[in-house]
């Protein structure tokens, strides 16, 4: 071991900046999770549609976003969307778009599995009650699949919180970005990165424990 002496002074001095970064990270995660939880369901309905015009493009969309790194998705939107669509949005918006599409693809897989778990008798019942397909989807299917898929949805959301650190690479001022900046400015990478890692861990860990609880609760409910 080298005689490295830890000094947290400078890092703690810049702690308010880390907190600012954390707020950006949380904001990003909240927006993306909020949209992705619902859009994933709509996409799952489209992928399991009988119409090929609907199911083939949406399946392709899901596979593209599941089989490529999130980093290339973010970088692609950051560099290509302004050229292709002639829009100049701030990096934060680009990050939200890329991550929302990514989460939507992953959530739709979770929903698709959950939709298959709903007994066919319920569909017959909905038809007998004269519910339209839309009402059936929103009032009968959605509440149930939300519960069945919730463990996977929550762990997808935790992954997304961690993936959100990638937006630092396209200079969104999130926790990772502020941490990198602080590490360079203070010449204290060990202390800074350790604290940043602890912040991420401190938020992810309790939520991942919650997943286990939900799983056990669901198992008891279904048993």
């Amino acid at each position: 071991m080298s005689g490295y002496s830890f000094d947290f002074f400078y890092v703690l001095n810049g702690f308010s900046r880390l907190l600012q970064g954390l707020i950006v990270s949380l904001e990003l995660t909240a927006i993306v999770v909020g949209i992705g939880t619902f859009s994933g369901f709509v996409l799952a309905l489209a992928t399991s549609s009988r119409s090929l015009f609907l199911s083939v493009p949406t399946r392709l969309f899901v596979e593209i976003f599941r089989c490529t790194p999130a980093l290339i998705q973010i970088v692609w939107f950051f560099y290509c969307l302004p050229v292709l669509a002639d829009v100049f949005w701030p990096p934060f918006t680009m990050g939200v778009i890329a991550l929302t599409l990514n989460l939507t693809a992953f959530n739709s897989e979770a929903y698709r599995a959950a939709i298959q778990a709903i007994p066919a008798a319920q569909r017959d019942a909905s038809i007998a009650l004269g519910l339209s397909r839309w009402h059936q989807a929103i009032h009968v299917v959605f509440p149930q699949v939300l519960r069945i898929a919730s463990p996977v949805l929550v762990s997808n959301s935790i992954s997304l919180f961690q993936q959100s650190s990638l937006v630092a690479i396209v200079s969104v001022e999130d926790l990772m970005y502020q941490g990198k900046l602080l590490a360079v400015q203070t010449y204290r990478p060990i202390e800074t990165f350790t604290i940043v890692a602890l912040i991420y861990f401190g938020l992810s860990f309790p939520i991942s424990q919650l997943v286990g609880r939900i799983e056990r609760y669901n198992a008891r409910l279904l048993a």
């Binding site: 596979e63 490529t68 998705q73 560099y79 990198k180 860990f205």
Partner: protein, 223 residues
């Protein structure tokens, strides 16, 4: 500036991108292999009776699953050389970081597979007087591996995708080559789309194999 989309533009850069892909694959295979070996060991520790081994392995796994891979990479890249007072290149530090991440992922897959092996097998091993090493290698490992296979494969796909992050510590992988070429030529659309397509070309067949193996294993195990 000429903004017309011309796919043939990428052709002269294909060799460079393929070299990047080779680096990505090399790194992924290396880290997956290391991660599988250590993951089995950590999985055993997580299920074992030794309290200290259990505590250490649990903290290790939760920490690596609860923090973004980017910060793990940075931490090992910037901090390990200072703490241990050794020079390690970017390739070694990236290999260490991704191997540890893969170990954490694989250990979870092995842990749940080990739990599903009946305790009567342990009794049988004892009754046959098999030494611990033999029972581990010839009785437990083959079964655990088969049951963990679907999860291990999807973990491998995850690792392949996460390996794009090593471009942030200066390793010339596919992502790195793509970013360099796209900024040098100012043709992000062609270059980044090609990079994404190359990731997809590897990732998509892998996910198809995962679902094939999943169905096969499930049928064989009749779970």
């Amino acid at each position: 500036m000429d903004l017309t989309f011309s796919p043939s533009f990428v052709l002269p850069y294909l060799p460079a991108l393929l070299r990047g892909l080779y680096m990505t694959l090399l790194l992924s295979i290396l880290c997956i292999s290391i991660g599988l070996v250590f993951g089995f060991a950590v999985g055993l520790m997580r299920n074992g009776t030794n309290r200290i081994a259990y505590a250490c392995s649990t903290i290790f796994v939760e920490f690596f699953r609860g923090t973004p891979v980017l910060i793990q990479l940075f931490w090992i890249f910037f901090c390990l050389p200072v703490l241990l007072n050794v020079e390690i290149g970017p390739f070694v530090s990236a290999t260490i970081a991704l191997s540890l991440y893969m170990t954490a992922l694989a250990s979870e897959a092995f842990r749940s597979a080990l739990l599903s092996i009946g305790s009567e097998q342990n009794d049988a091993v004892l009754a046959l007087g098999l030494p611990r090493r033999v029972s581990l290698l010839h009785v437990i490992l083959p079964q655990a591996f088969l049951r963990a296979l679907p999860n291990l494969l999807s973990n491998s796909v995850t690792l392949f995708k996460e390996s794009a992050l090593v471009s942030a510590v200066g390793i010339t992988d596919l992502m790195f080559q793509g970013e360099i070429i796209s900024s040098a030529t100012a043709r992000p659309i062609e270059v980044l789309t090609t990079v994404a397509a190359m990731y997809f070309a590897v990732g998509f067949p892998l996910t198809q194999i995962v679902s094939l193996v999943e169905r096969r294993v499930l049928r064989r195990m009749a779970i």
